[in-house]
């Protein structure tokens, strides 16, 4: 087991290092093979570890940090949660690597790209497998760094570099809270081992656990783009599409969920923290879904949908439903990777067009992309019997089970979000693939092939953890967490409601964007926002009634949330804070006015203050 675990970590690291150092000198094929081979090798090791898995295991690889009575060796911890994560990460990342071979075919800086991609996988694996908090933090920051490098360094334009920096700095806010939590944990428990800390939670007063939990939550907010630290993620679309897939589906953003799940035995003992987590997740899910409704950029729609889905997972964790959250995490990893990769295909085929209102007709011209993409879309929308349906439902079920005012409200919010999800998903599908459009150019085969396994996994991911009335939930048993106990009837009713909601969303979207209406929407989209009123005069009363009653408030709300809250308040307050700090700094800088006399006076004033203080203390 030790060998497997070491190899899982070392292979991507090795690939990344080799490519970083000599990648540019190697032939292109070799670089690509190396990068992909290392990740798939890690996947094979993960499979072997899975085969050999008998129970939670701690493996110490080397001593790493030791200062005075502080010890943090490189210790890996493999339990069912981390094992499942490792399998998912290596598999999805392996597919993304292969896809990237096709996507990056024309790019000269492929060596750096693959090196960073491999390092990214390595950092994520460290994060997942770490047994102690400093090691986890190392992976945590490594993921942040690689994402910064991948988002920002790519297109060499100021806009994208700024996006990378924004991602880095916003997530850094959360990281800081997390860092404080780590040091505080050490101070409280005299150890940084996660399993030990988790066992000692009951020793601490609830207030302390609550504070710790909130700090961890803040860390997760940053990395998983939860409210109010969501702003970096949509901008992070500046990177190349495989990176988006990597960040959004398999790795970075799920880190926050993983952290909360990992620390749940500790922080879950505080009801306040649970409620805060659930609330954060629920609100984020709803907020991002409304935002997604008004987007025009294909990748931004997907970005907001990621935020929304991560919100679901956080909501699940907040209800104590670790299994459900993990389940959704896995299924989401499959279908979101699928959607991003599919979007990458679409965008490449359309010469880097990202506006969904300028697309169309791809159903016939790009069928090998369309069908997998559709599979991903129905998973995302939660159409019955897909993997997404079961996993999302498991979370909603858990929320429902919690009962009470808060969780009842969150359940309704979750349902509403599911409706919105369904609407924006099919809006996207209809706009992108429906209607007529120009002929796209052909894609590298490898890109489209990668979609197929993901589509299958997404569609049939439900088998991983079937509801009880259909048989045993494998994942629930494997993770060995207390599942939610409900009667079959209740479960069926709830699933029926969820199915109904999803189908309603589908039909609403079809009504507005399907068939002939699609063209109208396109015309509408051409006009300026004020053109909407002009369109009113043309007499589509029914549609307008519907607009006024239903869609318009939502569009207004979502536009409001997106432009005002997201870009206005949250972005703006950060900007204003930065600006204020900058000004203060400038003021402090002008203290150094170049005149020695002031320097001496300031120096002497310092001395006078120190001596004055000492005299005052002694006197």
């Amino acid at each position: 087991m030790k060998l497997y675990l070491a190899l899982i970590l070392l292979l991507p690291l090795l690939g990344g290092t080799i490519n970083a150092i000599v990648g540019r000198k190697l032939p292109r094929r070799l670089t690509e093979t190396l990068a992909c081979g290392m990740v798939w090798g890690a996947f094979v090791c993960a499979l072997l570890a899975f085969a050999a898995y008998r129970g939670p295991e701690t493996v110490e690889l080397a001593s790493w940090l030791a200062a005075f009575d502080f010890r943090a060796p490189i210790t890996l911890y493999l339990d069912s949660l981390s094992l499942v994560m490792v399998l998912m990460i290596t598999f999805v990342c392996g597919l993304i690597h292969l896809y990237a071979v096709g996507y990056m075919a024309d790019d000269p800086s492929y060596a750096r790209f693959f090196a960073l991609l491999n390092l990214f996988v390595f950092a994520m694996l460290v994060l997942v497998l770490a047994e102690n908090l400093p090691l986890l933090y190392l992976g945590w920051e490594g993921v942040g760094f690689c994402s910064y490098a991948l988002i920002g360094f790519w297109y060499r334009e100021e806009k994208n570099a700024t996006a990378g920096r924004k991602a880095f700095i916003v997530t850094r806010i959360g990281d800081t809270a997390f860092g404080i939590a780590i040091v505080w944990c050490f101070q409280l428990f005299q150890t940084v081992s996660i399993s030990q800390i988790n066992q000692m939670g009951f020793l601490m007063p609830v207030g302390v656990v609550t504070a710790l939990g909130l700090l961890f939550l803040a860390g997760a907010m940053g990395k998983s783009a939860q409210l109010p630290l969501t702003v970096w993620l949509p901008d992070a679309m500046a990177g190349p599409t495989p990176v988006s897939a990597l960040i959004h589906a398999a790795t970075m953003v799920t880190a926050g969920v993983y952290l909360l799940a990992r620390m749940f035995p500790l922080i879950g003992t505080s009801a306040t923290v649970q409620a805060a987590i659930a609330l954060t997740g629920g609100l984020t899910a709803f907020y991002a879904a409304t935002c997604a409704l008004a987007q025009r950029d294909l990748k931004r729609v997907l970005a907001y949908s990621t935020i929304s889905q991560i919100g679901y997972m956080v909501l699940g964790v907040g209800c104590g439903a670790i299994t459900a959250a993990t389940f959704h995490l896995l299924v989401h990893a499959f279908f979101k990777a699928l959607l991003f990769l599919g979007a990458g295909c679409v965008i490449t085929a359309l010469h880097h067009e990202q506006d969904i209102f300028r697309m169309g007709g791809l159903r016939t011209t790009l069928p090998r992309t369309f069908w997998p993409f559709l599979a991903g879309a129905i998973c995302l929308a939660g159409i019955p019997l897909t993997g997404g349906f079961f996993s999302k439902d498991a979370i909603l079920l858990a929320v429902w089970e919690k009962g009470g005012g808060l969780y009842g409200g969150l359940y309704l919010l979750g349902l509403l979000t599911a409706l919105l999800t369904s609407i924006y998903t099919f809006r996207m599908v209809y706009l992108v693939f429906g209607g007529e459009g120009a002929h796209p150019h052909t894609l590298p085969r490898v890109m489209e092939w990668m979609l197929v396994p993901l589509a299958l996994l997404g569609l049939f991911g439900g088998i991983l953890n079937l509801p009880e009335y259909l048989g045993k939930g494998w994942l629930g048993e494997f993770l060995a967490t207390a599942g939610v106990k409900v009667s079959h009837g209740e479960e069926l009713v709830l699933q029926g409601i969820a199915a109904l909601v999803a189908l309603t969303g589908l039909s609403l979207a079809r009504y507005r964007y399907g068939g002939a209406r699609r063209a109208e929407r396109l015309v509408e989209a051409e006009a300026e926002p004020t053109g909407v009123t002009a369109f009113l005069l043309n007499g589509w009363y029914l549609d307008n009634l519907y607009r006024i009653l239903f869609i318009r408030p939502y569009e207004a709300l979502s536009r409001f949330l997106w432009t005002r809250v997201d870009e206005g308040v949250i972005d703006d307050s950060l900007d204003r804070l930065a600006d204020g700090l900058g000004r203060t700094g400038q003021g402090l800088g002008s203290w150094t006015n170049g005149r020695v006399s002031l320097y001496i006076t300031s120096f002497a004033a310092g001395l006078a203050l120190i001596l004055g203080w000492l005299a005052w203390v002694v006197w």
């Binding site: 002008s590 150094t592 170049g594 002497a604």
Partner: protein, 102 residues
């Protein structure tokens, strides 16, 4: 010891403060500024000599001598720099050397 140590130290403190005042006031003349530093160092020497007398050990006196030697090195370099800068800027006002700021 002919007087209490405290009295010596008070004298030293007063001289030290006078030297500092001189440094703070004479921004227009770097020579006077350096003189102020000399006064401060003399105060330090006085404190050392007083301490040496109080404790009956020669260490303080050695330190005082070392300060003297160090000062002469520092002064010679400072004056060389002043001459060097004066050759370029024709001024001894330290505040006029403010090319760098911010």
């Amino acid at each position: 010891m002919i007087v209490p140590l405290v009295h010596v130290l008070i004298l030293a403190a007063v001289l030290f403060a006078l030297g500092l005042v001189c440094v703070l006031v004479w921004r227009s003349n770097v020579i006077m500024l350096l003189i102020g530093i000399e006064i401060m160092l003399n105060a330090a020497m006085l404190a050392f000599v007083g301490g040496a007398g109080h404790w009956g050990m020669a260490d303080g006196q050695v330190f005082a001598l070392m300060i003297m030697a160090m000062t002469s090195a520092e002064v010679s370099l400072a004056l060389a720099l002043v001459v060097y800068l004066h050759r370029r800027k024709k001024t001894v006002n330290v505040d006029e050397f403010n090319e760098m700021k911010g």
